[in-house]
């Protein structure tokens, strides 16, 4: 018996237990919308479970799908409403300053910062998730880091 079907499911279950909350927070920080975050993470895990063991690297695959579903939804909303999501309706938001500062970065800078510095994804994987290159991600990280530092210092004052 080839073990890939069973082991894929086990891996997905373990990833869900250990990493789904962090993935949700990362997608929320990227999109600014808790509903998009919840739907994107749930969609990624559901697709993984339906894959019947055809995924080689479950963790990278689920992170990539969650962010791509979120990106597609952000684009769809911008087309239909012209407005990016608002962080304001996260109830009693305990990370308001950070989310507010992240929102003022470009989407690419925000995605790179969240995935690399919060979710601890390696730069090459960040590039795959965002559909970019390692070199471009390094530039986004450098510029995003500089801008985020300024914004956080402003909010500290």
């Amino acid at each position: 018996m080839h073990p890939s079907g069973i082991t894929n499911d086990l891996q997905i279950e373990r990833l869900f237990v250990e990493d789904s909350a962090r993935m949700w927070r990362a997608v929320l920080a990227y999109t600014g919308d808790p509903e998009i975050a919840s739907d994107s993470v749930a969609e990624a895990f559901t697709l993984a479970l339906e894959s019947q063991g055809r995924i080689a690297s479950v963790s990278g695959w689920v992170w990539r799908v969650a962010f791509r579903v979120a990106t597609a939804e952000l684009r769809r909303r911008r087309r239909t409403t012209g407005e990016p999501p608002d962080h304001g309706y996260v109830p009693d938001n305990p990370a308001a300053d950070m989310l507010s500062a992240l929102r003022r970065l470009s989407p690419r800078q925000r995605g790179a910062i969240v995935l690399h510095y919060y979710a601890d994804r390696p730069i090459e994987e960040v590039a795959r998730i965002l559909g970019s290159t390692g070199a471009a991600v390094r530039v986004h990280l450098m510029r995003g880091r500089r801008k985020l530092k300024e914004l956080l210092e402003e909010s500290d004052d």
């Binding site: 069973i6 086990l10 869900f16 949700w24 920080a29 993470v41």
Partner: protein
């Protein structure tokens, strides 16, 4: 950079909703079509009412159903039925996962206290005399996954096979002295005492 990582830890204070309940639901709902006709709304309401009736019937009917989904059950003659239950078929990961037994006549399923040393079980096989349960246990995708036995009350856990192999599907010989199983070492059997 360390400082930035520290500052980003503020995100950890955000509590996600119950994501598990959303698995399998369709995602990213389109905005409501305000031009939808009354007929469409009526049909949707009718379907929703039918679904609610079915859900209520399933929830309220008297049944000897386990609280967790029953999968891959095993039993010996006239004895209890043993099964794996959990949040996701095929594993005991998650807060409600584990080994359960239920009487063949029905009734409430009972959870077996899980001994330390088990990380994820994928198959169970009860011995012919009902005195031991064999199972495949391991850490996940990669070997080792080996064969273990324990008593039906969750005590006496013993690792029967070892080595960096992927070993699943234990099955007892009729005399209870050997366990056959599938293995990446190929075509293996082990003495149920571990020799």
């Amino acid at each position: 950079m360390t400082d930035l990582r520290e500052r980003l830890r503020a995100l950890d204070r955000l509590e996600p909703p119950d994501l598990r309940s959303r698995l399998g639901t369709h995602v990213v709902q389109p905005p409501p079509d305000r031009r939808a006709s009354g007929l469409v709304v009526g049909v949707v309401a009718l379907v929703a009412a039918l679904v609610a009736l079915i859900v209520a019937y399933v929830a309220l009917r008297p049944a000897a159903r386990p609280s967790a989904p029953a999968i891959r059950s095993t039993r010996h003659a006239n004895g209890p039925i043993w099964f794996l239950g959990g949040d996701h078929p095929g594993s005991i990961f998650g807060p409600s996962g584990g080994v359960f037994w239920v009487s063949p006549e029905g009734g409430r399923p009972h959870a077996v206290p899980m001994p330390k040393g088990l990380s994820s079980i994928t198959r169970l096989a009860v011995s012919p005399d009902g005195g031991l349960i064999a199972m495949s246990n391991g850490g996940g995708e990669f070997p080792p996954r080996n064969i273990y036995v324990m008593k039906p009350d969750g005590t006496g856990l013993r690792q029967i096979t070892s080595g960096n192999f992927f070993e699943v599907d234990p099955a007892w010989s009729p005399d209870g002295r050997s366990i056959a199983f599938s293995s990446t070492r190929c075509c293996a059997t082990a003495n149920s005492s571990g020799n």
